[in-house]
Structures are given as C-alpha cells and as structure tokens.
Symmetry: C2
Subunit: 427 residues, 2 copies
Amino acid sequence: MAVQTVATSGTSTVDLGPAAALSCRECGHRVPLGPVFACEECFGPLEIAYDFSAYDTEELRKRIEDGPANIWRYAPLLPVPADVADKPNINPGWTKLVKADNLARELGVTGGLYVKDDSGNPTHSFKDRVVAQALEAARAFGFTTLSCSSTGNLAGAVGAAAARAGLRSCVFIPHDLEQGKVVMAAVYGGELVGIEGNYDDVNRFCSELIGDPAGEGWGFVNVNLRPYYAEGSKTLAYEICEQLGWRLPDQIVVPIASGSQLTKIDKGLRELIELGLVEDRPYKIFGAQAEGCSPVSTAYKAGHDVVRPQKPNTIAKSLAIGNPADGPYVLDIARRTGGAVEDVTDEQVVAAIKLLARTEGIFAETAGGVTVGVTQKLIESGALDPAKTTVVLNTGDGLKTLDAVAGTGLTATIRPNLDSFREAGLA
Amino acid sequence: MAVQTVATSGTSTVDLGPAAALSCRECGHRVPLGPVFACEECFGPLEIAYDFSAYDTEELRKRIEDGPANIWRYAPLLPVPADVADKPNINPGWTKLVKADNLARELGVTGGLYVKDDSGNPTHSFKDRVVAQALEAARAFGFTTLSCSSTGNLAGAVGAAAARAGLRSCVFIPHDLEQGKVVMAAVYGGELVGIEGNYDDVNRFCSELIGDPAGEGWGFVNVNLRPYYAEGSKTLAYEICEQLGWRLPDQIVVPIASGSQLTKIDKGLRELIELGLVEDRPYKIFGAQAEGCSPVSTAYKAGHDVVRPQKPNTIAKSLAIGNPADGPYVLDIARRTGGAVEDVTDEQVVAAIKLLARTEGIFAETAGGVTVGVTQKLIESGALDPAKTTVVLNTGDGLKTLDAVAGTGLTATIRPNLDSFREAGLA
C-alpha cells in the first residue's frame, strides 16, 4: 500500500463543512481530513467523523426542507462546504420515491411498498451521488484530475461530474469492454484509458499510480477519496425518510456490490435518529445479491462472520464484486437490525425487471431486478413482513443493461388492416 | 377522417380542471371536451380553451410553488382534475434547468445560457409530459386502452404510463424496427404490435382503428387525445420561467418534429404573461431541425407560409417528421417573436452532442444535438444574441441514440504499469 493512502495525525485544515476528521472504523483512531482511506494504526477503513453538535433539530429540518431539490439539501450532514450548491456539480439526488401499489398487490405487501428510483439521477445511477461527494473532496484537496477504475456506471458518473466541474477526468477500464459501455463512458470527452488486462489488473494499476509521483493531483473517487465518496450513499437514507414524511421505513432492501451502500444507508438512518429528525424505532435492513455473485448472502446463510471471495458470474454486472470490502459490516447490520441477506438467480433477476416494468412503469437495471427479486423471495420465505412499510432500491437504469431483457419483443405482427387486427385477437 | 374525430356542439361534462372546451385553432369554433381533434366546421386542429378567470396571481403562484416537484404543480393550468397528483401516474417534469456556464464560454454566450434537460424524465424524454396529460384525458373519457403509433420515445412513455395507471396499453410500430427499440418499448409488458409496413402505414391503420367499433375504448395519445396530449409541452415553458425565478427567457431554442412542442411552449409563455406570473416583455422562439428533415427551416428561409413535405433522412429520428402538422404555426411564431428556424447537418448534430457532454456532463439524444448545434449556428450568424438569456432544450437521452456517437472510444490503450502510462503521455 502506497504511503499517501495512510493517514497521519494532526489537524484538519480543509473546509468540508461538518466533517471534522477521519476515523478508523476498526480502532477508532482519528486523523485529519485528507485524501487517505486506511488507518495508520491498524489499516482499517477510514470514515468521516462529523461534528453535528451545533444543530437544533427543527432549524435543521427547516433548512433541509428549504434546500435545493438535490442531495445538497443535506449539505449540513455531508463532507462538503456550506456553499456547495453554488459550485458546478451535476447535482444528483432527490429522486422519486414511488408508491408501488401495483407491485405491492402482486407481492402481497399490505403495509406500503415503495421503490426508491435512482435511475432518475443525471447519469441514471446512484453513482452520481457518491461521485458528487468525491468531486467536492477533490476540489478541497486541490486535485486537478478526477479518476476511477470502472466497468460501467461509475465511468459515466465520473466523466459527467468532471466535465461539469471543469476538471480533467481520466477513467481506466479493461481494454476489451463492450463497445456500448465504452461509448457511454467516452462521450463526456475525458480521457478513457483501456488497460490490457482484467478488472483486477486495472485496480492494481490504479493503486500503483496513486503511490507514484505521476499520480500527484489525481483523485481516485473510490480509492484515495473513498471515505468522502462513500458518504454519498447516506443521502439515499435521508431522502427515503424525508419523502416518507420524516419517518423511518420498517424494512429496506438494498443491493450489495462492495457493501458500502448498505452500510452507509444504515449510518444515515442512525444519524437521522441521533439528530432527532425521525422517531427512534426499529428498522430492518435486507441485503440483495445475485446468486452468481453472492459471497455475502452465502456467508449470511452459513452463519459466518467473514466473507469468502467468489468469482462472479451473473448478468448483474454492477453488483459483481466477488470480494466485497464491506461484506463483514453488511453481515453485522443485517443481523443487528433483524434483516437478512438473500440472493436470486439471473432468471429471477430478469423476471423481476419485467415485473417492476409491467406493474410500475419503471425500467430497472439488473441491480434493480436483484432487489425486487430478493424482496419477492423474502416475502415468500417470511423473512420480510408484508404488513410493514417496505422500501426497495433501484440503483440504475434498464437502458444500460438492455441485453438482460433482449428476449422481450413484439406480442403480435399484423398487416395494416382491421381484419388482420381482429384475426390476431387484439380487439 | 372517421366520424368520432370531429367534435359536435354541446356542453362539457367531464372534469378536466380549468379546461372549459375545445376551440378550433383556425376558426375559433368551440365544442365540448371530448376525444376529438378536428373542428366540425373547418377541420382545423382543436386545442384546449381554459377558464383561468378565477385565479388571483399571487395565490396561484404560491399554490404552484407549494405543489409537487413534477408537472402537477401546474395542475391549475392544465386539462386535468384538481386531484391529479393523487392518481397513479409517472409524474414527469420539474427536470433540471442547468446553468451551462462551460458551454456558454465555448459558444461565447455572455447573457446566461441554460439547458432544460428533459432526459431526467421517468422514461428519459419529454414525451412523458404529454403522455401524462393524455392519460388523464383517457381516464376522464373512460378509455381502457392507451395506444399510439411510434418509432421510439413515445412507445416507452405510453407503456410506462399505462403500466403505472393500470390501463391496458397497445402500441403499434413498424414490424422491422431495430431490436433495441423494440426491447425498450416491450419491457413494460403492454401489447406491442408490429405492422407490416412503414410508419405511414402504421398511422393510417391507427386512424382506421379509431373509426371502427374495434377501437371503442381506445385512447390514441397523439390522435383522438391529441388536444390534451399536446398541452403537456406547456409545462416546459412554465418550468423554465419558474426556474429562472418567474422570468421569461429572452431566447429559447426548441426542436421541431411535428412543431407541436414549439407552439405549446409559446402558448405556455403567453399564458404566464396573461396570468401576471411573469413580466410581459419580448421573447424570441427559435426552431431547430436536422438538415435531413428540415421542411420548416426550408420554408422559413424561403419566406414561405406553407411547409412542403420532405422525405426524412437524418440520424435525428425523433425529429424525423417530413410533413409537420404544426409547421405553419411554427413559422408564424418564429416570425412574430423575432426568432428564426435553422437546421444543422448530421455531422454537426454529433459534434454538438459531444460538445454538450464535454462541457456540461449532459449526454443528449440526437434531438439535443440538433438544438445545441442550431444554437451555435444561430450565434455565429448573429440571429441569436449572445448577450441575452438563452434556454436550449434537450428533449431526450443519449442512451437511446448511442449509435450517433458510436465512433467515440478509448483515448489510449496501455499495459497495466507506470512505464506504459508514461509512454502514453498520460502523466
């Protein structure tokens, strides 16, 4: 691990609003805010420690409600400067929380079923939320290049955010990615570099670059800016509660890739309780994986605390992380809150994408098929209570994973006349 | 033309809010609200006549500002019942008005340049706005099937809206459409019928169906529901002005397909003036076409009042209407407001898509390339004043027209090591 990635003690000098320091998730050691992600004491992951002590609950609530219709309404709770909304940013968030009554009927949910639809973000995935945070950290640390390794959604989010902010972007991808994905990432005009190797090779190279003088001024959103980046997922929790009328959902179903999103949603919910913005009552968090990449689900079912890596083989590519960094934390949260972790087959993913589209008019990415499919399975198994308020996340857009439903097609072909129409039984 | 398509005199009995009657655009003849689109007197197009007389300006403004973050905030100005926001609908609108400072610098605009980005709608095009209106009209008239002819965006918007509303949908398309477009339309689970013939054949068949008993209970959003459907485009004008702080833009650049959107944006702006919601001062409306389908632009440049049909041949397929129904009205509005109609080549469309993505992180459909390209051309010719506040519409999403930028790709390919990185000049 390169030297810049480990924090050293001292005082924070950058202005990132309420963010006070970085704190080790394992040992609690605190270091100043900086572009680092691993604890100098124990190499545990660093996360943001906040100072929320000055907030009055009702003043804060009003400030949020009067804020912009994007994640910056929560600026007082994020590692961003107070004037963040005035800077060029793609301003993700405040996506629809859809009351999914038709889907509820199909699944037998009576307590209220909602889909948090993050396909409404600027580049149509939840990644815009996390990249927007990383961008502010990059600006605070004086970085001039925004970078990442990616095989899909993240590349577009980084490219778009850097373009708006006027920063250079340089995204690293495996050189043999499908042409469609290359186009989606390349259109924003940043540098898009193909690495001769697989995704692991790309990641290894990025870590090497961060430790080298050549990487000076480079902010890798999900590496040296990871503690800031990850906080973006908290905004999903904030929005869900505010959109429910400042109320915790009883149950929430979250997809698992690295597991970071699920842990930060839990963090966000706990913050809202601590701040008095929602009533403190139990909630359950459920994790959703595809069977073809289900290391956390497998560990959960086996009663393990550690996650054994898997080689991914699923159509849910945006969730295909075989060795999820936050896997153990996810297990802990699922068990602590009374939730569960479950997985579904690729066939069930496809069926769930179609079910959501047919019932609610929402065309989800494969990751959305995973959460809807897992919700259905958890209801059938009794792990999820259909009489409770339930929120299911859709984190991406079906237009990006068209191949998954490529079998869908015409229901009939007719000649352009009424006789042919009647013969086809369409009248 | 089938008999049901022509209105007869009488009294409106349906509740569509402030909509009082249908009025002929040509002769002013009024008929009750109904699923009709052509005047019984002169066969001119019918549009909605409203009764706004009860509104107090500041009460109305507050009611709008307190309304939902979608088009239903403008329910008092639309042909929908007052409780529309409580009904299952995909709730489009309130999309971002992006202050495009980077693009402004590239184009030399100093008076403020904004992109109204309708790719943020539920199915990622402005069609959600118009279909949402048609859906309410369909409900009011007791229709049970929502239908349309389409080659793209409209099919998805109808499929999604009908799914959410729990109505049957049946969309007619040419049978040999590209598989990707078929998938996007089919995923919502409605009936998707391929017609053996071209788009004109599809349209002719739909008109035949409306006039036949087999078409009873069918609402064709852009045929027998057209007067209601078309009003959805007014919401673009409302949102732009409200997002500018209840101010008219000086200049607005709108794409032209049938021309309906441009005429309704003009109608929306005039309504805001009449209602006192914005100050009455001059604005200019500019129309944008692709050279390969530029009947209105050609007529404008030739000084004609009539539009001669063209056979479309352009990558901007969502604008490829060779015989635009509202073409003469567009010519009138462009001339009356001091605007213009211009066109750009397919190469300029592609360049403009890339320019917008590179400067603002917005990946537009080909139609967005047309408006940005035309804006650039109008600035260069002096027709558009760079010192004035200018709004450019992006009506769709680049993910739906990936082929247009298929040439975009990797900027470099390297081996996974720092030497290769340096050799490529990326440091």
